[in-house]
């Protein structure tokens, strides 16, 4: 019998807060992080809203507790800030105190910084300190810089499955624990806004010029965001022996591919249905025991129809309370799965259901609507958190209250 996997520490930074407490405060005060970019050089600066972390990269060095140095991208710095909080929160002073793995997730690595110097890098006439950004072109750079500063020397990996990346990082870490490979893993993702990604999604015509409106009839697309989040996972036996404070249990998960289209989900939500159903079955909980679903809810035309249909197929006329928190944080791509996993823990621990901001009109294809008001004192025992991505990569996590 494989061991249960517990979450014993969390850390994050997003547009709505520099740490978990800051995020919780903004969620409770229903304060969105959406606005306009200060730091990306784009013609869409005043046109396409984004949820940007409200610090220039220079200030992130101080928050991350490292001296200002070339080669540290915004992706790395955001990740480092979230990582240090997660370790502190789990009471880990030295990651070497027990064998600990690190599974990171990223969609474009250090693109946020490399896109600013790329044309110098390929110009033989130019030379300078920008050459130190060459290594940051890939996704492993941020992982290794974080690992080297924090001191991870056991297993490290970086996953990139588009918008489901950090959900898959959590799953991979949990599986390594259940296989008995390592007793403790730190898993999550980091994502910085880039002109590359903004133009990518805009070229697909699925970025909203207004603040995004998930599950609304009038929605026209997503808003991008940035941030990072990590969760400390421990095996049950390690957590007990270590006397760790247990925040919640990662009780179920599923990764499935929809095999429908390179960028679009199927209209009936086959992948979303399968991911949620299988993850819930693994958790051992029934449909009735799910109190809240933190949906992927990007507010693109296709996602919300597909995901909504999947909810109706799985839960019939008893769809649990659900909301998308992307109007708070924007769509943070590789970081989204981990950020929303932490929100799911907050929902359980504080008895909260977060509102789906900017909703006003029911979608004609669906009979369900998201929660629009903050609910406090609401008992939450089991949450499904969804992350669906390009390439048909679908992932669902089930996070459950720890009963002792």
């Amino acid at each position: 019998m494989a061991e249960r996997v517990f979450i014993t520490g969390v850390g994050m930074i997003t547009a709505i807060g520099d740490d978990v407490a800051g995020n919780l405060h903004s969620l409770r005060s229903q304060r969105s992080g959406l606005g306009y970019t200060e730091y990306i050089d784009t013609i869409y600066r005043q046109v396409l809203p984004v949820a940007e972390v409200k610090h220039p990269s220079e200030s992130l060095f101080a928050l991350a507790g490292v001296p200002v140095k070339e080669g540290y991208t915004r992706t790395t710095l955001l990740g480092l800030i979230a990582m240090q909080e997660a370790l502190r929160d789990a009471g880990i002073e030295d990651v070497q105190s027990a064998p600990t793995g690190f599974i990171n997730a990223s969609t474009v690595g250090g693109m946020c910084d490399t896109e600013k110097v790329y044309f110098d890098i390929i110009d033989p006439e130019k030379t300078g300190t920008f050459l130190q950004y060459i290594d940051t072109l890939d996704c492993a750079d941020c992982t290794q810089r974080i690992a080297d500063i924090v001191g991870f020397s056991e297993h490290i990996a970086t996953i990139s499955t588009a918008c489901s990346s950090s959900a898959n990082a959590l799953m991979f870490g949990a599986r390594m624990i259940r296989q008995g490979m390592l007793p403790r893993m730190v898993c999550g993702g980091t994502e910085a806004l880039t002109r590359f990604t903004l133009n990518g999604f805009n070229s697909l015509k699925n970025v909203d010029k207004q603040f995004c409106r998930p599950f609304d009839q009038q929605r026209t697309g997503l808003n991008l965001g940035e941030g990072a989040a990590y969760l400390v996972l421990e095996s049950e036996s390690f957590a007990k022996a270590n006397n760790s404070r247990i925040l919640a249990e990662l009780s179920g998960y599923c990764n499935t591919n929809e095999a429908f289209h390179p960028t679009s989900p199927s209209p009936d939500g086959d992948g979303a249905y399968e991911a949620m159903k299988t993850a819930l079955a693994m958790s051992g909980h029934s449909l009735e025991q799910v109190e809240y679903i933190n949906v992927h809810g990007t507010a693109t035309l296709n996602n919300d129809v597909s995901e909504g249909k999947a909810l109706e197929r799985l839960f019939g006329d008893k769809v649990p309370l659900f909301s998308s928190t992307k109007p708070f944080t924007g769509h943070t791509l590789a970081a989204a799965g981990a950020i929303e996993a932490i929100y799911s823990i907050l929902a359980i621990r504080h008895g909260l259901i977060f509102p789906n901001l900017n909703f006003s009109e029911k979608m004609e294809e669906l009979s369900v609507t998201p929660v629009t008001q903050l609910l406090e004192g609401y008992p939450v025992n089991n949450v499904i958190s969804n992350s669906f991505g390009f390439g048909g990569n679908n992932a669902s996590l089930v996070i459950s209250k720890y009963e002792g």
């Binding site: 013609i43 072109l137 996704c139 133009n199 070229s203 990764n255 086959d270 390009f390 990569n393």
Partner: protein
């Protein structure tokens, strides 16, 4: 690692004629450009023409190697699809970065953006095969393919009967230049077949797409068994030596990633000291250096275990095998950071 898994099918697109025909009769392809580029196969038997036109090199190589591997395995459904790539489709990334500037962020074609996504090859394989099983992509330099392998082994431990596990990488002229600026490649042209004799800073670049069908049980068709596996991140020489010694005591052949790079040769010297007198086959003169070159090395080792002979033209420095090879120790590292050891056994 617990238990074993078996290589039931495989396929490689590489700078050598590995995709079709008898590799044991194949000539050695070499170059003095410091860049070993893949011999691309005819994609038409694998990919419909209308899809082919939109796809860039990495996607074509990755998808085609995967499909050929599925054919070779004789298992029609691929099951979990797990890959590794250090850089994904560089050609698409480069194109999209430039078009953003060229077209001033307006009226951009989304195709390069979509194809630059690291999991696009995985998505294509799943789509083409209508495969809804587990699907994952690792993007971690010299641990990209290896994490895909670890994930696959875990899948098999968890009950999957087989997985489709692979790696793909391309090198573009632009990326070759970029990496030359931080000293990855040798500064003077070197004939690839002499790369081990030319010990100097840097190595030669390469690329490839390699896929495996891994199974939980051996069959008469199995190429080899993978019976041991370790990854070490930035180890000290002492830790490397201890781990190598504890890892394998029975190897009768060593396959290693030696590449003539004097900056990191010392790790291979540690390996030499751990396996004195065991015949050694380096493979980077065949495929060049790249993030997922380890997959090519595994492909080579599996062939040797199954065929019990060496591709003679590829290893003129090595006499033919005089004794049966039962166990291979594979050791590779990527620019000194990610170190990998595998134990392969004859089935």
């Amino acid at each position: 690692m617990k238990g074993k898994c078996y290589i039931q099918g495989m396929a490689a697109i590489s700078p050598q004629p590995t995709f079709e025909g008898d590799i044991f009769q194949a000539p050695l392809v070499h170059t003095d450009s410091n860049l070993l580029a893949c011999i691309e196969p005819d994609y038409k038997p694998f990919i419909p023409g209308n899809s082919l036109r939109r796809m860039t090199r990495t996607l074509k190589m990755g998808l085609t190697a995967a499909l050929k591997c599925i054919q070779d395995s004789g298992i029609s459904s691929p099951g979990p699809i797990i890959t590794g790539t250090g850089k994904g489709s560089l050609q698409d990334t480069e194109k999209f970065i430039k078009e953003i500037v060229e077209y001033k962020e307006t009226a951009l074609n989304p195709t390069p953006f979509i194809q630059s996504t690291y999991n696009s090859v995985n998505g294509l394989i799943a789509l083409q095969q209508k495969c809804t099983a587990y699907n994952n992509t690792f993007v971690h330099r010299g641990f990209s393919f290896e994490n895909a392998l670890l994930d696959s082994i875990m899948m098999i431990q968890e009950g999957a009967s087989h997985t489709l596990t692979g790696a793909f990488e391309e090198i573009t002229q632009e990326h070759f230049y970029i990496k030359s600026r931080i000293g990855c490649w040798k500064s003077a042209p070197v004939n690839s077949q002499d790369v081990y004799q030319q010990l100097s800073p840097g190595t030669i670049a390469g690329e490839g797409a390699t896929f495996f069908t891994l199974t939980d049980a051996a069959t008469p068709q199995s190429y080899a068994a993978i019976s041991g596996f370790r990854m070490l991140y930035k180890p000290s020489e002492e830790k490397l030596a201890t781990t190598l010694r504890n890892f394998s005591q029975s190897a009768d052949l060593v396959i290693c990633g030696r590449n003539g790079d004097s900056n990191h040769e010392h790790y291979y010297e540690v390996m030499d000291a751990c396996f004195p007198g065991v015949p050694q086959l380096p493979f980077k003169h065949l495929c060049g250096e790249y993030d997922t070159a380890g997959a090519f090395g595994l492909w080579l080792g599996a062939w040797i275990l199954k065929a019990q002979q060496l591709p003679a033209s590829w290893f003129p420095m090595q006499e033919q095998l005089t004794a049966p090879v039962h166990s291979i120790l594979f050791y590779n590292h990527f620019f000194g950071e990610q170190h990998v050891m595998l134990q392969l056994e004859r089935v």
